[in-house]
Symmetry: C2
Subunit: 291 residues, 2 copies
Amino acid sequence: MAAVAELVTTEIEGLFPEQWEVPQNLREAMKYSLMAGGKRLRPLLVIAACEALGGRREAALPVASAIEMVHTYSLIHDDLPAMDNDDYRRGKLTNHKVFGEATAILAGDALLTHAFYSIVQASRRFGVPAECVLSIVEDLAEMAGPRGMVGGQIADMEGEQGLTELERLQYIHLHKTGDLIVFSLLAGGRIAGATEQQLEALRSFGTHIGLAFQVQDDILDLIGDEGKLGKKTGSDLKQEKVTYPYFIGLEASRQEVERLTETAKLAVSEGGFSDSTRLLEIAGYLMKRDH
Amino acid sequence: MAAVAELVTTEIEGLFPEQWEVPQNLREAMKYSLMAGGKRLRPLLVIAACEALGGRREAALPVASAIEMVHTYSLIHDDLPAMDNDDYRRGKLTNHKVFGEATAILAGDALLTHAFYSIVQASRRFGVPAECVLSIVEDLAEMAGPRGMVGGQIADMEGEQGLTELERLQYIHLHKTGDLIVFSLLAGGRIAGATEQQLEALRSFGTHIGLAFQVQDDILDLIGDEGKLGKKTGSDLKQEKVTYPYFIGLEASRQEVERLTETAKLAVSEGGFSDSTRLLEIAGYLMKRDH
């Protein structure tokens, strides 16, 4: 997994062609957050899904770095004073603390936009069929957009009228984190030429590990190690956020993470993939993670 | 032109399929700015370029509304307190004054993301070839991204090191406004199946009317009618922005608008289009506009 993360980092370092005239501080702001020590989970999922179906790792790289850009943009905007107002992330100053608010907003915008450019390069550089790349563009626009990640973010921030707190929690988890995880798996599958049935297996796997990931996040915010997490714990309580431990308790939340992970593993083992090892490894890793 | 603007507005009203679960306040914030009385210039250019080459108007509509979404997102983010800090635009309260800063940031993010979804629908709904739609996605990501509009915006806001003021002014005009105008024309052309030579003619037309548009903007900010513009004039002077009238004077700026418009018209008349009337009309309208 470390080797794959390294590959993705190298791909991201070649973010812009040399000859591109990009203002220096914009370039630095984009790279600062992209290189701030993320786990590269979503790129790993793209590549793992692609390889599970016998696809080529290289062909998945443009989409793998695209999803990391989208994830990074969402963190930069989330951290803004108008949103979560966080000064630190992963133990480093947040983007707007280093570059100022205006540049941080624009660096986020640029990362989101450039992600779509990167996806198209799967066709230009590796000959992935245009029809397939177009489906990936459509998926990303849907899952990162108003009814996907941004919708989840709004619901997290402001609350949604007419929903119970539990419905709202589920909506937030499904969209704010889950959609990009599902996207990553579908995109990797599409690049490898997945059948509809295989895409469904990947979607189910993604939905379940996505939810497990989020419940684990809730748990870590409550009892995690601040040093390992690189951020202060207890922020959910302080911001009065609805969380799984709040609803069902800590022990039941832990069991829920296990149950969701098992369901995810089952989905993938029934997907008819040529090699599911990496996907199962990632699911296991996520369940046990402490940061 | 009014009829086409009307068509685009109808297309935008059908922004999300009915069954889409989008948080209510996000939906409202997106629509508020999309329906705030924009001139629909960029969508008109998409359609005019498409029709100039004998393409179908309907097939251009998804891209026409996409570019209006991108333009609208850029205005919402530009108006934010961390950026230009504007309370009014086109005589109406800006997005963040109505919905709050966090929702305004997210509404902008959602509009940008959804624009890419809309572009893909040109293939889904009207059978535009995937290869062609992919080129439109690539163009938009390039021209709205770090070396396009966002690059121009950064340069406008913070200045760029190592450039003279005139070089910086040209960079800003070329990218902050010009790139989306060029994109609109290229996209319309692509939908109609333009040849490389025709795309070059559209690019030249777009670059010149884009620059003329911006110089005219500089002029209107200096001597325009606040009632017609729906905003205060003199803001460039107050913010000490570099403008064309500042460099070459008001009368020479007026002549520059005319010269650029004539060059644009020449490019289009030599492009070998089946009917350039609409494009020439728009160029003439832009030159004479007072708001």
